[in-house]
Symmetry: C3
């Protein structure tokens, strides 16, 4: 017989237990409920699955490598430099061809600087002086080029006197060319090779079209008609970023080249292609503030026959290009699918919860519905009295005003007095 019991127990394990429903023939709430259900369904299908591809497992930890290579030469003919030809090794800094590269488009050259003493540049306020006392020896000039020697000098080609300093002399003259020196940089091209890899899916690709047509890759230029050509004209990049090249070449600036890989690996690999976008990164506010644009100083060091160091100081203006790669790959996976469906259905519960609130508290006749929704256990004497009361009580807290008018108030009162009994009855 024990076994029989166990058997019964075991069998009963597989009975299905489901909530008992009450039907409220209330069109308002009914419609509300259906609307909520539909909108949740719409959200689940439309947003979670179609838009956000909720059925996919995604990989955003992109492994990327960028190799950049510039091409182009510029010929300049200036008083200080004479006839000069600039090639890649001259104007690209740093030369390694990484994802950040700088193209020099304008420069101020101060040749043959040596460690010596000379008057500070007049353009530096703190260096101006009237007598030697204004130049305490050994003190560094704030935002200046050297250390004061204690004398106040008048530079040959200037009317004002400045402190003499120990520095790399002669100091740089602050005179930016009116027009960019390497204006023709607009026609330079940059070849951007970007190899990516999604480790989770072991998927890798290059932004270079997998063609055997050598000449195409040598001669194409990226554009609307060649969206997958990896060679860009600097002029175009700047224009697409919404700036004017010549103006930028003069002051310098920073351009961002975003490469976006958004791959649906449920489709063919050939569908997974880069999308390029260009933006000006050093933005316009900067114009008003100090050191607008982008420039920096560097020096080439030489040593003369006597073994004395001297250098050529170069203040380089130009455009820095930052290549930024980011991407996302998705592939069907059962786990996120189930989770999304599940949590979507779970939302339905929330919808019902919301409708209950409306039904039980916000609409007229809500008392009635509360009554129906609550279980009525057979009471002592008068039918549904005390528990009905308990039940209503339970649901009441909010509406104190309509309380006294409540039909079953007297009974309720008695019920309140006999809460114990109320329980007792249910215990019956």
């Amino acid at each position: 017989m024990g076994q029989v019991a166990w058997k019964g127990l075991f069998l009963s394990l597989f009975d299905y237990k489901t909530e008992k429903y009450v039907i409220a023939k209330n069109k308002k709430v009914g419609i509300l409920y259906r609307v909520v259900q539909l909108s949740i369904l719409a959200y689940l299908v439309g947003w979670v699955f179609v838009v956000k591809k909720g059925y996919q497992d995604t990989d955003t930890s992109l492994q990327s490598s960028v190799i950049t290579k510039l091409k182009g030469v510029a010929f300049t003919n200036t008083s200080e430099l004479g006839e000069r030809l600039w090639d890649v090794a001259d104007y690209v800094i740093p030369p390694q061809g990484e994802n950040v590269f700088f193209v020099m488009t304008n420069l101020i050259v101060t040749p043959n600087q040596r460690q010596a003493t000379c008057p500070e540049s007049v353009s530096i306020p703190n260096a101006l002086c009237d007598k030697d006392e204004d130049c305490p020896a050994g003190e560094a000039v704030v935002a200046g080029n050297g250390v004061k020697t204690g004398r106040c000098l008048k530079d040959r080609d200037s009317i004002r006197r400045t402190c003499e300093i120990l520095a790399w002399c002669p100091v740089e003259k602050r005179s930016k060319p009116k027009k960019p020196l390497l204006a023709s940089a607009e026609n330079f091209t940059v070849y951007i090779k970007n190899s990516i890899r999604f480790p989770k899916f072991k998927f890798s690709k290059v932004n270079v079209l997998a063609t055997n047509n050598e000449s195409y890759l040598k001669n194409c230029r990226y554009g609307t008609e060649h969206p997958y050509c990896p060679i860009f004209l600097l002029g175009n990049i700047v224009r697409w970023a919404g700036s004017d090249f010549q103006e930028m070449a003069l002051e310098g600036g920073v351009i961002g080249i975003q490469i976006e890989w958004n791959c649906d690996l449920d489709k063919a690999p050939s569908e997974c292609n880069p999308h390029y976008s260009f933006s000006r990164l050093d933005n316009k506010f900067a114009e008003k503030s100090i050191s607008s644009g982008y420039n920096f100083r560097f020096a080439k060091y030489y040593r003369d026959a006597e073994g004395v160091d001297y250098r050529t100081l170069i203040k380089a203006y130009g455009i820095r290009f930052d290549v930024m790669v980011n991407g996302k790959a998705g592939k069907f996976n059962i786990i996120p699918t189930i989770i999304n469906i599940g949590s979507g259905l779970a939302l339905m519960g929330a919808g019902a919860f919301f409708c209950d609130l409306v039904l039980l508290y916000l609409i007229k006749k809500s008392n009635f519905y509360r009554g129906k929704k609550c279980e009525i256990t057979p009471g002592l004497g008068g039918g549904d009295t005390p528990d009905q009361v308990c039940c209503l009580l339970l649901e009441f807290p909010e509406e104190k005003k309509s309380f006294k008018e409540h039909p079953s108030f007297p009974k309720m009162f008695s019920g309140i007095l006999s809460l114990q009994q109320c329980v007792a009855t249910t215990d019956l």
Copy 2:
């Protein structure tokens, strides 16, 4: 008495309201429901907690700094350079030892270039010419080294004529060595020091084993038997990345060194260790396309006694190493734990929802269950008639076919006619 009422109200606040259940003695659905429950439980425990560590608060915003230092010398003896020894300052570019560094393994040197005129390299198609007219003066050679002067010359050691150009002369001869010059770079070592910090948990660590055994750290080499030694043999790194060093040294390439910190801070800090992986970043497609491998040009600038600049142009082939650090730390936190448990349980509701659908619409006898599931309020005259009808109606929409055959159809019809009444009854 008022108080008593309030007291009652207050007490009743703490009654517990729970759904009323119907038991469907239907093994199919029952088993289905249990299966759903179990799988949700399995998902919650197995996936969310064990695999995904759902009980932990995680920090992925890793602060990392990488310092790299190469060691090794190479001796070369070539016709153009003679006997030469290469040390770190010669072959590492840039020298700073950041997370990206380039080791030069092969190079084409073009010494003593000066600003002058000379015939363009014959390897550039656009430079070939038959007569001076083919070389319009002032025009830059596309993908070339200079600006045309207007003359068509024949270089001494070549049979073909090319345009004369103003450029850094002589121009580079495109002749890559058959075998890498610094083949012995395979034996160079790199010391990678990676310090990380998880700000949220104020936890920091270094990939250098916290040992006082100086000599171990000087002499160990990373490998399966020394997984925490921070010194790597370049040859090994390339091999682990699945490439051949000598081949790569010839053409150049990019290797990614991923350092993965995956730390469970509920365990001892000594359990939090880096995991290294190596991969070839510039991938195989590239071989077919232009500028396969990795190389770039840079120049060393000199000035002769007359103060004229001249330079040595170097086309450097080599291997670029990108050290990429990413990590994740987790530590027990009550909030994510509760949330995960909660949403897991919420999923159960979804399971029930799903089973209801089956029970009420997909199986035989579903009508019967719908009937049970629906409240039957005492009707006017004929027992359960009208509401039963309303109830069934409610549940019907889908199955129009089986509609007419429905046993209680006549009643139902009458019920439909008296929907108002139907409500009325419920209002009783």
Copy 3:
């Protein structure tokens, strides 16, 4: 009539179906349930909405560009270098002013190195020798500067003998200055311009105060009283990172400058400001291990009148600054709002689920509540007998022990024997 039926169907579609409740007058569970409800509500409002701003759509894919510019000069007077002034072009590596820059604060200079043969440094263990046999010709010195020539020499200014090597001679003497050469680097300033852009919201900003007061931006220094001044004193940065500048200047190190943009775009753009934090990235463990601090070697190459290359090798110690930008912008969006509310409500269901478990299995009298919770369909003979049994059965599985003592056990047993009938009854 058909239409009428359809009409009925259609209308009934909008009836509202809601669960039927049982009221358990059990204060324990009741309170528990209210507590659960309240805590879920608190979590939803307090955590999800107030703290985590769950009503906002967020963008973390920050586009950022950093431009850095150092200012300051240092004067040194050493035996080997004589009087020398260091300016930006001398001590900043690399010069480009990117987000990672290195300030040289200490150095070991080895001038006039030429390709030749000389004894290896005595500080390299592997180079020590007693006789020529210890120096096999052509073998590279491990962690050394060159390739052995096969001879064992005694350097003039040393007592020990070392192998002669082919290398850049003379080799570097390992003698670090006791105090940093450029100690005054503490007073250098760095101007950090950081422009950011949140693509999703098309919002961009600069960390430079949008003021027209030129002089303010030239003269301010970042600090508690000037939180939005973009000019930093190196000394302060290091101190804020919790290190001592002079000590760090001697050994070198890495400092991280985090710029955090945490923008609530529902507020005014002027509310969106950067927050700076500073930390030492190469951490203390390192002190114990090899190559503590941060240093690297680089060379300046010269060519003498005979066209022979020689170089000045510089081992640079200094501080590397890594500027790291990250940020997050949020803006109100209806979708996340709804989702968060919904899933929050869904959690309520979980709460109820939990309370049910308590009510039905953990407290005394749980049998009674199980009975109440289960539907009792009119049975055959003795009132609620068989189904009551089925019902209880269903709920039983766990508590086998208290099973036999169960009041309705005899009935239950009969019930078990007649499970079929049990179903039959429900089918009635």
